[in-house]
């Protein structure tokens, strides 16, 4: 083993030719709050990586002891210099320090090696499982694919959440915003979607990227553990820019995530990327912009805050067959304050994305989970990506629920209601129960179809409202025993054929016959 290493080192030494490096340099004239003012670097370009010359005056041994290099990123080009942000420990930078231009735009490593790993915003592994050996560098800032290289969204991306897959379907290549107050289940939806991808066949399974921006380390650790426990980490990459990371890294993390995703998309793979969350990225960018002395605008955000999010989300795409047919589906998350979707950042991101899933705190507190407000949630392109089977069972679901929400206020006058209204309320209540789902338990498409078909056939009409969720779960389990062929057919064809309908009717009758005690609420 040792002799092999020695031989390798000897080979390296023999083949090594000393190069005279020539670089453009500048000098740090001011440093503070993670931002440096630099004199010089007249040929620097925006987003160029610079290197802080720390080892000047240190002996070779000292330089080798601490060989981790400190980089910066040019963010402002000025008349007599530049301003850059420090991508690391800013206490290592001092006034007068030499700064070296690298001539490179910030890039992050990407490749299959990253699967199952946790990396920081610079693509460096932070999970203690060693360095990457063979990766491809991908530019963090890259122009999004143009219209000629794209095709429309037609393939569904199953989230495993009944309410979403039925009423707000997401397609591969779509950008669907998850928006809501704090603690309303935004991250849960995103993580369940990642977990649900394990039901996809390996060749069609999207690579999942979870970008944690400004999150607590404990939360990210919990998510990693959850994904590992669910066997979902093998196809997932975590990009972590925690709350303790400098603002620059929090601002860069989503771009690093999408750059990693583009590697797979360019090779014809489907990618699902979750940005959790873009509100925190906007706050980090505001901090950085103010430190860079850019003029503040509304709510002190810089003028290009819209461009920050639009250029990020435009990189989500479904590529044409000529470009390999890969896709990036983006699930950005935005946290609202007191349900205010008309604030600056939420309206910006709503206008950029192809729809939004709005989570309502009052629904969440009532126990409706996922707490999706169907009335203002929408998917602008997803319906064309919905399977025929799902379309067939979910067609009138949204309307029915909307009508129920309208009538819900009259529930307290239940005794005075006419029969039609009372029936509609009863049906709506049961439908709400059917759509409830535990977190971390995504349901495959075929089972969703079966359950929603049953609900549409008034299967739960005789079940007491409080029992609906458990009856629905038991019915789903019952289908596994004896009706696998029907479920498999729905999964394979994506169609709810007459034969499948007949089989499901039979299953409902059998289940009802076997569990008569559950169907006696009337």
């Amino acid at each position: 083993m040792e002799s092999a290493i020695v031989e390798k080192v000897i080979r390296e030494i023999e083949n090594y030719t000393i190069k005279t490096n020539s670089h453009e340099i500048g000098r740090v004239t001011a440093v503070g709050d993670g931002v440096v003012a630099i004199d010089g670097l007249s040929k620097a370009v925006m987003s160029e990586v610079i290197l802080f010359e720390e080892g000047a005056g240190d002996s070779l041994a000292d330089s080798m002891k601490d060989h981790s290099r400190l980089y910066g990123l040019i963010l402002n080009l000025e008349e007599d210099g530049a301003r850059a942000t420090i991508l690391g420990d800013s206490s290592r930078v001092c006034e007068g320090m030499t700064v070296r231009s690298t001539g490179k735009i910030l890039s992050v490593p990407s490749g299959d090696e990253l699967l199952g790993r946790v990396v920081n915003a610079l693509g460096e592994p932070i999970d203690g499982r060693g360095a990457f050996v063979k990766t491809t560098m991908m530019p963090v800032e890259r122009e999004a694919y143009g219209v000629m290289h794209r095709k429309s969204v037609t393939t569904p991306l199953a989230t495993g959440i009944k309410a979403i897959d039925a009423m707000i379907p997401v397609g591969r290549g779509q950008r669907e915003l998850i928006i809501g107050d704090r603690s309303t289940g935004k991250t849960t939806i995103a993580i369940d979607t990642i977990i649900n991808q394990k039901h996809e066949p390996a060749e069609k399974r999207p690579i999942c990227i979870y970008v944690a921006i400004g999150q607590k380390e404990s939360k990210t650790a919990r998510i990693v553990a959850q994904l590992k426990a669910e066997n979902a980490l093998d196809y997932t990459i975590i990009v972590d820019a925690p709350a303790s990371a400098p603002a620059a890294l929090q601002f860069l993390a989503p771009f690093a995530g999408v750059a990693i995703g583009e590697y797979f998309m360019d090779r014809g793979r489907d990618v699902l990327i979750v940005y959790d969350d873009l509100s925190k990225q906007a706050v980090a960018y505001r901090e950085l912009s103010l430190l860079l002395r850019r003029p503040p605008g509304r709510e002190a955000y810089p003028g290009d805050i819209f461009y920050l999010h639009s250029r990020l989300l435009e990189r989500a795409a479904r590529l044409s067959d000529a470009k390999g047919g890969g896709s990036i589906t983006a699930l950005p998350i935005i946290e609202t304050q007191d349900g205010d979707v008309s604030a600056y950042i939420p309206t910006n991101v709503i206008s950029i994305t192809d729809g939004q899933i709005f989570l309502d705190a009052s629904l969440f507190n009532k126990g409706v989970r996922p707490a999706i407000d169907v009335g203002i949630s929408v998917s602008r392109v997803g319906s064309s990506a919905q399977t025929k089977a799902m379309k067939a069972v979910a067609g009138s679901l949204k309307l029915e629920l909307a009508q129920f929400r309208e009538l819900e206020a009259f529930m307290q006058f239940a005794q005075d209601l006419d029969k039609a209204t009372a029936d509609r309320i009863a049906s709506g209540q049961r439908m709400v129960e059917v759509l409830k789902q535990k977190n971390g338990a995504p349901i495959p498409m075929e089972k969703q179809v079966a359950v929603l078909f049953a609900a549409g056939q008034k299967f739960f009409a005789d079940v007491s409202v409080s029992q609906v969720t458990s009856v629905e779960a038991r019915f789903a389990e019952f289908l596994d025993d004896g009706y696998e062929a029907t479920l498999l057919e729905i999964k394979k064809t994506g169609v709810l054929s007459d034969d499948s309908k007949k089989a499901l009717h039979k299953a409902m009758e059998e289940f009802r016959a076997g569990h008569g005690e559950l169907f006696a609420s009337t």
Binding site: K8, E12, I18, K19, T20, T29, D39, L41, G55, D80
Partner: protein, 129 residues
Amino acid sequence: MEKAYAAALWHTVEKGTDPKEAVERLCTMLERRGHQALLAKIGRAFEALARQSARHTKVELVVARESDAQRMLDEAGKKIEEMGATKKDVVTRVDETLIGGWRLEGRGRLIDASYKNGLMALYERIIRT
């Protein structure tokens, strides 16, 4: 404002006006405009300009040993010319940590032909692979 005054003073001196006379004229003008309070700030801005200018014009050759200085100066001659300077403009400094070779710094460029740089690059390459 102080930067503008400092820049004006710099250009005046650069054009050939005697520095002492230029400062006196500046003081008179500041008095006339009621800007005397800016004088200290103008002084600091002028100092920064001088430092900046020195950085842009100064060329420094760093060598590992005093005895290497002339040989290294000859070796780096072509690079010095590429920087738009002559050997006369070069200031030599000794830094033993370079081990050998030379390092030329100035006019916004850094050319590193030191052994330390080469060995560091080799070390990084080995540990990376």
